[in-house]
Symmetry: C2
Subunit: 194 residues, 2 copies
C-alpha cells in the first residue's frame, strides 16, 4: 500500500535495526484519513471472504479495525490485555508473550460475541514474532468460528511472524512489509512479491 | 442523541443501580455504524470550535474519537494507562483514580503531539465521577493548549462528574445522560434539558 509506505518513510522513526516508531500516526497519535484508507484496503482485500466479525487487540489495533468494519459492515471485538485473569468462566483467554517487553499478558474476549457461525478477520497494527497473532488465532479456534485471515498494518519482514503464519497456511495480508531497518534506512519488501 | 438512547435501551445491561454494561456495542464489541453516527454528532456539536486535536484515553475512547476525527479532519491522541511511570522526561502525565477498580493509574501522552497552539477536544466513552476527564484536562493544561470542551458518549447523570465539570465552566456535551438505573430500568435525562 503505497500511501502507507510513504507515510512510514515520511514520519516513521528508526530507533534501531529492530525498532520502528510510528507513534505519530498509528500507535499514539492517529491519522484518521490514513486509517480510513487502511480500512478500505483491508475491506478490498477481504471483500470476498464473507467476514462477519473483526477481532483485534487493544489499543493500537482498534482504529484500523473500526475503519475496516465500517466498510465491511461488521462489528469489531477487541481483546483486552490483563496481567493475569482469575474470573474466566465467560471468557475465551490465551497467553501472549511479548519479546519486546519480556512479559506475558493474558488476552481475553467475552464468549458472547464470537460464535461458531462467524467468519473472523483478525486485524493488528504490527506483526513481528507473531505471538499476538497466534494468540488471537488461538482465541478464534476456541470459539469454533472460521478464520478468514489476518490483516496487518505493518509487518516486520525481518522477524519470524510472517514466515510462520504463511507456512501454516493462514491468509496473511500485510499492507506494508519492512524488509530491513539497517543503518537507519527503511527498506520495504517489493509489494509485487508479497 | 436518540439513536444512542435506543441502542442503550435495546442492548445495555443494567447490572446494578450504578453499573450499566454496554460491552455489546461500545466497550468490547464495537458497532461501527453507531460509532460513525456518534462521531458525526460530536463533530456537529463542536463544529464551530476550531478543534485541532482530539484527546482520548485507551481503549474504549478510541473508536468514537477516530470517528469524530474523520469528520473534523484532525488527529487523535490517545493517552496510555500505566501502573506507574518511571521514564517521564518526554511525557505529560497525570494520575487518575478509578472508584470502580479502586486503583490509581498514571496516564501519559507524548510531549510531541499537543502544543500550546492546539485547540483540544477531549472525548471519552463514559463520564461517572469525572476522574478520567479531570486527568485529561490536567494534561491539556500542562500542554498549554486551549480546551474546547469535553465530549462524552454516556454520562451517568446520577454520579458527580457532569455536575462538577459544568460547575467549573467546561463545555460538556454528553450524547446520552442516564438519570437513573433504579430497579433495572434505564431512565434518560430529557435531552431538551441538557
Amino acid at each position: 500500500m503505497k500511501k502507507l509506505q510513504q507515510k512510514i518513510r515520511q514520519d516513521g522513526q528508526v530507533l534501531s535495526e529492530n525498532v520502528l516508531k510510528v507513534d505519530s500516526f498509528l500507535n499514539h497519535q492517529i491519522d484518521p484519513a490514513l486509517m480510513q484508507a487502511i480500512g478500505e484496503e483491508f475491506a478490498t482485500r477481504f471483500q470476498d471472504a464473507c467476514i462477519t466479525k473483526i477481532l483485534t487487540l487493544e489499543s493500537s489495533g482498534i482504529a484500523p479495525s473500526i475503519m475496516a468494519a465500517i466498510q465491511l459492515d461488521v462489528p469489531v471485538i477487541f481483546g483486552r490485555k490483563h496481567q493475569s485473569l482469575t474470573l474466566i468462566d465467560d471468557l475465551y483467554t490465551t497467553t501472549v508473550y511479548s519479546y519486546t517487553k519480556q512479559t506475558s499478558n493474558d488476552i481475553a474476549i467475552s464468549k458472547d460475541y464470537i460464535t461458531e457461525n462467524d467468519v473472523v478477520l483478525i486485524i493488528d497494527d504490527f506483526l513481528a514474532n507473531g505471538q499476538a497473532a497466534l494468540g488471537l488465532i488461538d482465541i478464534v479456534n476456541q470459539t469454533g468460528a472460521s478464520l478468514a485471515g489476518i490483516g496487518i498494518v505493518i509487518e516486520k519482514g525481518f522477524q519470524d511472524g510472517g514466515k510462520l503464519l504463511r507456512e501454516r497456511g493462514y491468509r496473511l495480508e500485510s499492507l506494508a512489509i519492512i524488509e530491513s531497518l539497517v543503518e537507519g534506512s527503511i527498506t520495504f519488501r517489493d509489494e509485487e512479491t508479497n
